[in-house]
């Protein structure tokens, strides 16, 4: 039982990270109906910014950790907005496939740029312990302060995101664009501003995800975004692409399953296979994902 609870805690902290990344996929899909495959590299850049900054700040302090986190989020927000402005916006209105392939191109470009020795290089580097690290035991459960940071930060960010989306003017505009971009424009919503804002928000969350991921698996390298990015994409689809609570739920489910399976001695080699099998099974039963809604139009 303790073993199960322990894996559940580990799973929640991994799932919280997936959830943060999945939110970016799902928000961009919501307003633009396309999958931003460069999102996993935004996640990687977030970890890189934190890695670099962590070398100049005193490690093991809460304020230092928060500064690093904030800087990574801000840097990623700028990166996301820039990618959209320079690459996706000129292609808007063309076939979705063109934009998708371009997104994969941006993803490969960012990986390659960071593999250049002058930028980062291909060798993984140790991620500094930017937050204070301590281990707590509750009963038989071992919980590290890093896990607590991950769960707390992720939960806070998701609450803030909900407030932004449901309580602010920009959030209303985002929801309107997701429901019907033309109608949103006809009530006076500035489409480009909403799209930029969505990229900023989603990329900042991915940046936070990158820092939190690097904290728990303390190394960074240019390809570190690939697997978590793919898993988060799966999580977003699992929860119902376009649905924000769905992305959060999908992330938590996927992280938990992966950790539970990974913790079992016999099945651990198959943890990714089982995670994806769950996706296939859920999509067979519910093609729109757990919380996704099929679009219906009344004529």
């Amino acid at each position: 039982m303790t073993e199960f609870l322990q894996q559940l805690v580990n799973g929640l902290s991994l799932g919280a990270i997936y959830a943060l990344i999945a939110l970016g996929y799902t928000m961009v899909y919501g307003v633009l109906r396309f999958i931003n495959f460069a999102h996993s590299e935004v996640f990687m850049v977030g970890a890189m910014i934190a890695w670099k900054l962590g070398q100049y700040l005193p490690n093991g302090t809460l304020w230092g950790g928060l500064v690093v986190l904030a800087a990574a989020m801000a840097g990623c927000a700028v990166l996301g907005v820039t990618i959209e402005r320079l690459v996706y916006r000129p292609l808007r209105g063309t076939a979705t496939l063109n934009v998708l392939i371009t997104a994969i191109g941006v993803s490969l470009l960012l990986q390659s740029v960071f593999q250049h020795p002058r930028v980062f290089g291909a060798t993984p580097q140790l991620f500094p312990a930017v937050f204070p690290s301590k281990n707590f035991t509750f009963g038989g459960l071992a919980i590290s302060s890093n896990q607590l940071v991950v769960i707390t930060v992720a939960a806070l960010l998701i609450v803030v995101l909900q407030l932004v989306i449901f309580r602010t003017r920009m959030g209303r505009a985002m929801r309107a664009v997701a429901l019907n971009p033309s109608a949103a424009q006809l009530v006076g919503v500035n489409l480009n501003a909403v799209i930029s804002f969505t990229f900023a928000l989603g990329s900042a969350l991915a940046g936070a995800g990158g820092v939190l991921y690097a904290l728990n698996y303390p190394s960074v390298e240019p390809l570190m975004g690939v697997m978590p990015g793919l898993k988060a994409f799966v999580a977003a689809v699992l929860g119902g692409i376009g649905s924000i609570p769905g992305a959060a739920l999908g992330g938590l489910i996927l992280g938990t399953i992966e950790t539970l399976v990974g913790g079992s001695a016999t099945l651990s080699t198959y943890k990714d296979a089982i995670a994806f099998a769950v996706l296939i099974f859920i999509l067979l039963c519910r093609p729109t994902g757990l919380l996704g809604r099929a679009a219906t139009e009344k004529v």
Binding site: R172, A183, Q185, L186, V187, V299
Partner: protein, 234 residues
């Protein structure tokens, strides 16, 4: 109030609207009639900035709005009730109306607009908490018009308000369109396939065919025009 000069819009190589010119004087109801694919909807979408004009110009209140993005055109006071109504189906009636007032900051004025809309369409007041997607076609059309009115337009474009509605409802909607025009002096540009109806409520009409205006004139004259009789008035 609105002057369209030589407007052209194309989808790729196809000219959907090809050198259209007309004017809508303040306080009038002007209608564009024509069959499917004549370019009526395309013209409206270009006027509100959803489509980019390939050539020509649009002046509204003596300002050139041809190249402005949609949200700035809305801010100038040009409202558009789009074809197919395009209400926010997952939001409630109340939230749809609130979205219509997106650019309005003054709460007092927004409350006035709501009262005004409920005065015209009392049915909407009864359905406030209902999800807009569950409304009947006629109610959705009322909501689409109500949402546009919440933006306090000086000029309103209506695209096929009669489409798919029961005849009795069409009458109600058109009575209210005339009422909005009379009581508030709101200028209206109406696009309709139902030419008979459109000619009854409008003062001037233009007939579009394959992207060009082929007949223009006062509606009273066009009602008896033999050229319209065969093709549009049956």
């Amino acid at each position: 109030m609105l002057t369209v000069t030589n407007l052209s819009v194309s989808y790729g190589a196809i000219n959907a609207v090809d050198g259209v010119s007309f004017a809508v004087p303040a306080g009038a109801i002007v209608t564009l009639i024509g069959g499917n694919g004549a370019g009526k909807t395309t013209t409206l979408r270009a006027l509100s900035g959803l489509l980019r004009a390939r050539g020509g110009s649009v002046t509204f209140d003596s300002a050139d709005i041809t190249r402005l993005p949609p949200h700035e055109i809305v801010a100038c006071g040009l409202g558009h009730v789009p074809e197919g109504r395009m209400i926010f189906a997952n939001l409630t009636v109340d939230e749809n109306l609130a979205m219509g007032a997106y650019l309005q900051r003054d709460r007092q004025r927004i409350a006035e607009s709501r009262d005004y809309v409920f005065g015209i369409f009392p049915r909407l007041a009864e359905r406030l908490r209902q999800s807009a997607g569950t409304l009947s076609g006629g109610e959705q059309q009322m909501l689409a018009i109500g949402r546009a009115l919440m933006g306090r337009p000086k000029f309103l474009m209506l695209d096929e308000p009669s489409l798919g509605l029961a005849p009795r409802l069409v009458g109600t909607i058109f009575d209210q369109i005339q009422e909005i025009n009379r009581s508030h002096g709101l200028t209206i540009l109406l696009v309709e396939q139902n030419a008979r109806l459109a000619l009854e409520v409008s003062s001037h009409a233009h007939v579009l065919e394959t992207g060009r205006i082929v007949i223009s004139g006062p509606s009273t004259e066009l009602r008896t025009d033999p050229r319209l009789k065969t093709a549009y008035l049956g």
